[in-house]
Amino acid sequence: MASVLRTEKLCKSFSNGGVQQHVIKNLDLAIEKSDFTIIMGASGSGKSTLLYALSGMDKPTMGKVFFGDTEIQGYSNDELAVFRRGNCGFVFQSVYLLENQTVLDNVLTGAFIVQKNSTEAVSKAKELLKKVGLAEDMWNKYPNQLSGGEAQRVGIVRAVINEPKILFADEPTGSLNSASGKEVLDIFTKVHENGQSIVMVTHDLKTALRGTRVIYLRDGNVVGEHKMSKYGTDDDAKRRSDLTAFLEQMGW
């Protein structure tokens, strides 16, 4: 299977009071097309740092990041922004909707930076909003009028509206209650079923179960990897026990 994203000797350090803190160390990793990759690890293991370095949100200190055949680690900030438009979608834990824009405008703000055909983009946005269960009466609401789950659904639609090559998600259910969390994960599963590559950071077992591959990070390195069948295609209990066993083995 072709890698949609891979890294070579990826390093990321931060300077903290003059002391260098190496968060990611010589990390080699490949993300396959249509994979649902889950990144797990203890707090401070470098999960989010890796996610942001992979997605071109942040520049690595050393090493290479290949998006397809394109090396992106040398890009300027603006070049990275342009690169992200067509290639990456993001879903954040805190949702980060634009507070002064309506639901529809939040999605369209993401769409119009890439899509030149306004009519098509508007139709697509409305269609996707409907698909995630946000009916027309919600489209003109502002973020503060939405529940956490509704807001995150808008965040997902905004992230996928441009059909990115990879959808990145940083603990998307972290701030949601379990019911809302499940709804959001179902959407991720649906999106993945449609062939979308997803890289998600989580420390929640239920969330990790939605993936097809779990990599475990410790001290900035991948220390273990666990592959799974697609969610809903196999015995759910077996998937859970296998993953639990893997995580226990990793010291989770």
């Binding site: 922004a81 980060y96 002064n100 306004s118 503060n144 940083d170």
Partner: protein, 837 residues
Amino acid sequence: MQTKNIFRLALFNLRKNRREAVGIAILTLITAFLLSTFAANITGISEAFDKSFDESGCKDSAIVIQKNYRDEHLAALNEFDGIKDVTAAKPLLLVSGMVIDSDGNGKSSYSLWFLTETENREFEDFVKGHSLSEDEIAALEHPVWLPEYFEITAKFAPGDTFTILNGGKQYPFTIAGFYNAGLFSDTGMGFTCIISEDDKLSLAPVLEEYNALIFNRDAENNFSWQEYNKVCRERTGESFLAWSVTRVSVKNNVLQFLNIFLYISGALSLVTLAASLFMIRHKISKDIEDQMQQIGVLEALGYTSREISLSYVYEYVITGGIGALAGGIAAVLFTPVMNFMTISMMSRTVHNKTNFAAIIIVTVLTVLAVILFALAKAGMIKQFPPVIAFRRGIKTHHFGKIFFPLEKLKWSIDLRLALKGIFTDMRSNIGVGLCIMLAGTAMLFSSYMFDFFKNGSDNLGKMMGCEIADTKIELMDGADADKMREELLAMPEVRKVLPTADWLLQLKVKGSELPDPRAVVYDFSETENIFLTDGRFPQYDNEVTISLRRHNEDNVNIGDSIIVQGDCKETSYIVTGIVSNLAFNQTSLYFTPEGFLRTNPTASLRVLDVYLNDGYTREDFDKKLTALYGANVEDTMAQSGEGSSLEERIRRKADEKMAVLISQYGVTDADYAIRIGDTLIKGNSSKFVIKKLSSMLDMAKTECDGIAAVTKIFSLCSMIFIAAVVAVILGIITSSNIKRQRKELGIMKSMGYSSKNLMTQTALRIMPVTFISVVIAAVISVIINKYFWIELFGGQVPQNYALTVFAGIAIVIFTYIVTYIGASDIRKVSVTELMTE
């Protein structure tokens, strides 16, 4: 203790918003500096002039009589109430005489009065300034003492040669020194040159002698020039050509431009004051909005809303105080520069002391204004007890109406998002709009001033309300003006010839208290330097066009009638139009040739204004005229009696005598016959065709070029200064907005919006309000420009609407660029900041 805590909070806020604090301090500094300079000098320069005039010991008024002086004039003056210390003098006058410049290269035109020291001491103290030593002066052959103008403005030095050109001859003097001249020390009234008795005697045949009555008036005296004129005419039975000058008129003339600059500085300081106050208001309300949760915490800890408000006020006491103090110090340090400017523009040595009281008062008032404004705004904290403060801290964006939904907009996404952003902070936008409107008005007005003076005094000349031809030819009474005009028109150098009357002819308007008008007589379809502000030029002999000053001050309108008193004759005219008229006391009257003759039947159009084609100079053309028509009367007066043979020398001497009779005594025809042994030498005055050649152009240039240069620089500096203020304001606001929108900007970046996209959106967001503000500023600036010239000069400048549009667009583009650059902090916003949330 509590005060200490509040002070600590203020310092914390200052450290957090260093750039904004510096910006506010700079704006306050500029405000205090400009206001202090204005306040310290607006009365100071007036007092400095008075002091300088008092030191000269000069009497405060003078009447200069050109023709028909009689002893009755002196007697009549002495009989007027409140008139005292009347002194008579007989100065020689060289009107628009050329003087070789101090660098020896160019020439400048001045009106010069010549007097001896004894005569001068009759009406002023002859207070000497820089000069050669007594021994050096004693050794000079032709010493001259000049008014300080020639040292300060014309850059001559003691010992320099002061060469006057007249009638093709050079009259070199050596400058003995400079002195403080009272009444006659400006380009308008001319300059008194103090020369030796011998030199005055030698100049007497070539220059016209005037009679000057110089006197003092009681403080409450309301001497009426009209009344005096009337009395003199009754007593002598004839009119006389004269004009008056007073200390007040000289002062107004000298201080006119200095005052304009000061008032413009004052206006600019108000712009910066408004900008500073707006900045403070903007910053406090944003700070309170952003720090609402923090305010809630402080209130929960037991701080009263008054104490928290005071922490904001202290912040501005510190920034405003530092700025105002620095501005006050700058104003004190600027005093020598201001003195230099005052001396340069007054062309007098003045000692303008630093007005510490005014500077301190302005500095304190500036700080007080800042504190009061900060107090008023910070008082809004009272509205938020802790619970409300906490709740307000949770940002709630809820709009009843959705502005510019993206799905309905068809432009680029940057423009769409920018438009949506306009309504997110309407009050701030209105404030920015007001700042841009004020600054834009000042910038546009400065651009008009710069444009007006960009080609030196050319445009000022267009407001003169008189024709400024290359050469003015005054013909002899017997000369055929029509024939002469045809001959001139046939010359390749000549573009146009306009017949007119003697420009020194003075008239009176019945019932008017304005200074006596000059008659301007032309076929106005041919004139090119006289511009109407309303109505039309006269076409018939019962019509007249008046000056803007007369229209405003005498309240005479188009369609009204005025009665003009000419040479013992009164005639009524209908006013057909109003002219922009800066010259001749701004009171000229404009007649058709036929109309003028109704009032002055004995006058004739013996003056020809000659306009040359490009590439021809006045000097060369005058030489050609002399070669073709012989020397003119004035030149002949100045010629020496030397020649190769006795007959030539006698003829030249005879011509010289005739020229003096014609020029100074009004003789129209003269014949002579001289017998030497068997030889009879005969001649007559018919050989003279041209009485005098002169040029208004040179005079106008000497008078106006300096003013034009200073004004041009001043207006350019004003534009740069205001642009800098606008840049500071926009830079601070943009930077502060970015600081507050870091999260939103991070989100946008995560979606793939580049820094350039976001900077473009930020700059575009301010464009609608900028555009509206600039349009309003354009309208206001056009109105100000119109009334500025009317009020100050009685003239009207044709509005350059193309410039208004161009400058307006330039301001919009400038605002865009400044905001775009000011938004460059967006580059520092990293998407990774979202990770820390």
